[in-house]
């Protein structure tokens, strides 16, 4: 049981650190979409905005 609680505490700490770091790095956001992406493929300008019909 204590191991599970330790895992939960660890997970929460990592999540808080990660999201805090993300927020800190995006504090100068100008409002336009900024992305991180895997691989060397050319990134599209931004997310698709309109739902498909």
């Amino acid at each position: 049981m204590s191991r599970k609680l330790a895992a939960l505490a660890l997970v929460l700490a990592i999540l808080v650190c990660s999201m805090g770091l993300k927020t800190a790095l995006s504090s100068g956001n100008t409002g336009s979409a900024v992305m991180l992406a895997n691989g060397p493929a050319p990134a599209p300008p931004d997310l698709p905005t309109k739902p498909r019909k």
Binding site: A7, L15, L25, L36, L47, P48
Partner: protein, 231 residues
Amino acid sequence: MPGPLALAIWYIGIVLEIAFVVCSIARKSFFRYLFLNTYFLLGLGSDAGRYFFLSKFGLDSTEYRYAYFYTDALLTLALYVALISLYVRVFGELRLNNFVRFAAVLLLLGTALFSYAVVVQSEQRLVTTFAYELSQNLYFVGLVLTYILWGAVLKLRETRTRVVQFILSLGLYFSAYAACYALGNISSRHVAVQYMSGAIGCLLPLTWTFTMLRHTEESRLEPARLLAVAR
């Protein structure tokens, strides 16, 4: 279509991804580093799919955007699994494999839940925004996890050269992307930022291929004494 420089970076990245898989097969380490190879094989599949949509519909098309962001989410998940496989390798001797796997699943669920909470009120298509948000959040989780793993490598005095260099390369890769993200937030439309992202994508296959080529499974390396934590 994107410019010649962006395409050149992409082609170099594809060659490096193939090189890593070929090197692992040649060095008889394909199954030993199965999840790392799976990540690059998925990357190659994604590249093929992205190229199809890019050449057929163009860079600004909705089709390419969907293909790009969905494959990106899939690749980020694969990279997360690859990172956890390195955790299992480092903590294997301490018999903490089950704990690591349990925590990894819990962390993935937590990140997914957090991402869902962020996008649930979005006016845009929920699945796409969720895939994008999850992908971005997992990046930062991966970044933090890599630094924790590096701390564990120093503390446990891990000496396997390949494992150490894989982890260092991953740290470099995540950190470079984080820097690119920060730079992009300051000036997202800057041309250099767009090329940087592609160039960083080549970094991981390049360093991992180099490691696979240069070192064998038996190679050992001691982290510098200055960095090693005293027991």
